[in-house]
Subunit: 354 residues, 2 copies
């Protein structure tokens, strides 16, 4: 139908316009603020780094409603530059006034790349993470901000990102496939031949964003990539890759690989948290966040037993159609056999996060 009319190359300015426009709607901001795992992690991550923030200048990249900027002002920042390209910047300005920090927080509407600040900053805070960490890759703008405006020795919040993978089964998929076998009993028409077609349709090349149940995760997580946000370059983001090796817990049917991320804030030293970093994790073993997990389906389910090894390589890179659109290439072998090779992307029409 009409809404599928999207697979085409967009020139850069049109892409940016659409990108920033979609943030003007309230639902995405409601979802982000209501995600207390996310919002509390930033609140605490900022509070614990109060020593580095107090009396200093902070840049908030993609400030949205400005909540992180207000956290920084509450932590004692001398000045916070809240840069936001979409029209939600108007709401951020109101929120800043309402919280009586307008003397310290300056909302600047514009693209980070176009903004001129009157001074370098001591701290950059940003909530830049998309689905599977890099979908939408606002991280590029954060790195531009770092290279252009962060004082040498300054602080990135968060400062580190990690990517994880584990093989998963999918009970919902199995129930959906069984549906077609049940139609004859319900309506007197045998539709069991749809099962195979349904499997092909569902186990496709789309990155499915969904909340994976703990009981569906078939091994310990394997960390396959790590980004040091003080050091990683834009060039390196063009090709984030790593290998993984997982040993299955027991007999099960592997339908997919599940990918998720964690970002961490430095401990700040001396604070209540000591020097242990504060981690915002989107693991299926932890409380659900609005990022859920990224599910990458194999072509068909593969049976495994205890200690069956699932191993391979994952490579993440921007799609050719749109730099903000993520592709994930997977090479995967189960039990030393069945080498699979598949490239995934998030389908058009997927709701935004960040």
């Amino acid at each position: 139908n009409d809404q599928h009319a999207t697979k085409r190359k967009l020139d850069k300015s049109v892409q940016d316009h659409l990108y920033f426009d979609s943030y003007a709607d309230v639902s995405i901001h409601e979802e982000m603020i209501a995600d207390s795992v996310r919002t509390d992690a930033y609140r605490l991550g900022i509070a614990r780094n109060g020593a580095a923030i107090r009396g200093k200048a902070v840049l908030d990249v993609g400030a949205g409603t400005g909540v992180l900027s207000v956290f920084c002002a509450q932590a004692g920042a001398r000045k916070v530059y809240a840069v936001e390209a979409s029209s939600i910047a108007e709401q951020a300005a109101q929120i800043v006034r309402l919280n009586a920090v307008a003397d310290r927080v300056e909302v600047i509407r514009g693209r980070l790349e176009d903004v001129e600040l009157p001074e370098p900053v001591d701290v950059i805070v940003s909530e830049w993470m998309g689905y599977a960490l890099l979908h939408e890759s606002m991280l590029n703008s954060v790195l531009v901000a770092r290279d252009r405006w962060l004082r040498p020795g300054g602080l990135m919040l968060p400062s580190r990102a990690e990517l994880f993978v584990a093989p998963v089964s999918d009970l919902v998929l199995e129930e959906r496939l069984r549906f077609w076998g049940s139609v004859k009993e319900r309506y007197g028409v045998d539709m069991s031949c749809m099962t195979d077609f349904a499997r092909r349709c569902i186990m496709n090349r789309d990155i499915a964003v969904s909340a994976v149940a703990v009981e569906d995760v078939l091994s310990h997580p394997a960390r396959f990539a790590e980004l040091d946000l003080h050091a990683v370059t834009e060039q390196e983001l063009q090709n984030v890759r790593g290998t993984f090796r997982c040993d299955c817990f027991g007999s099960a049917s592997v339908s997919a690989l599940c990918v998720w991320f964690a970002v961490s804030f430095p401990g700040g030293g001396g604070g209540g948290g000591g020097d242990k970093p504060l981690v915002l994790s989107t693991s299926p073993f932890k409380a659900e966040t609005h990022w859920k997990q990224a599910v990458l389906y194999l072509d068909e389910p593969v049976e495994v037993e205890q200690d069956t090894r699932v191993e391979g390589e994952i490579r993440m890179f921007p799609s050719e159609e749109s730099a903000r659109h993520l592709c994930i290439h997977v090479e995967c072998a189960v039990g030393g056999l069945r080498q699979q090779s598949k490239t995934f992307s998030i389908p058009d029409g997927y709701p935004d996060v960040q």
Copy 2:
């Protein structure tokens, strides 16, 4: 973001291609077949009209997986032409063979407008209804089929469609708006000024497809339009309009008008159902269907009391960008005051039905 890149005029052939492609995925067929209100209504509507079908030729417009065609063969049709433009036609052909009716059901892949049948038909069956009845308007193709292939005095299944409206309150909306007042308590940042922005974002010009709870419906339904499918013309579909008048049950806050439809199958005479038509209703007072209801938000909630009159006019017409895209224009007065005038459409990126 990239996925919002859709508001543009498409030429007719591209539109058709995208329209038919989207039906190739399995999820929509799963949703339709699993919708037992829908599927059972067609199953019974066809069975009750067995006298008109037995030994006759039937045309199924937009046959999808072919389930209605198999129902017609089971009801004794001599021949069923199952016309389907998308690649799901291949699955329909398999299903027809699996149910041992391949001698009577012929699956024809193509647009109805391009298909040549070897004979006129006695019955046309089609499940053509979209959100708010006319979104996607496959009904146009059904009328072409009728005018070109239905024998004079032939039967349309269903034979009648009706449109209804009622004022509704929206407790989910009210909860969503209250959220912004709760942020200060949760995180120490006052975001109460977002409430007004949130109201403007949510109470917008999009047709929201959602399941309205019975307790949110504030009056008896008012029928505002009716289509006799034996007689209605393509020209008349360009402008389906009617007036409505509702008297509210009691004190409440009206947030929106809720629009839904029913289609009906003739009783068939002599059968178990006598001559009473069999109705497939998508009313909020009945069991939920995959069509749910179409919710049209006012600009802001309006307080009503018992017997407050909500009245006005509704006009439905195809959008200029795409003939399959529905617009709904509403003129509405509450308690004789506050004349509101607003034109709604279904946003791009909305999942398909039908």
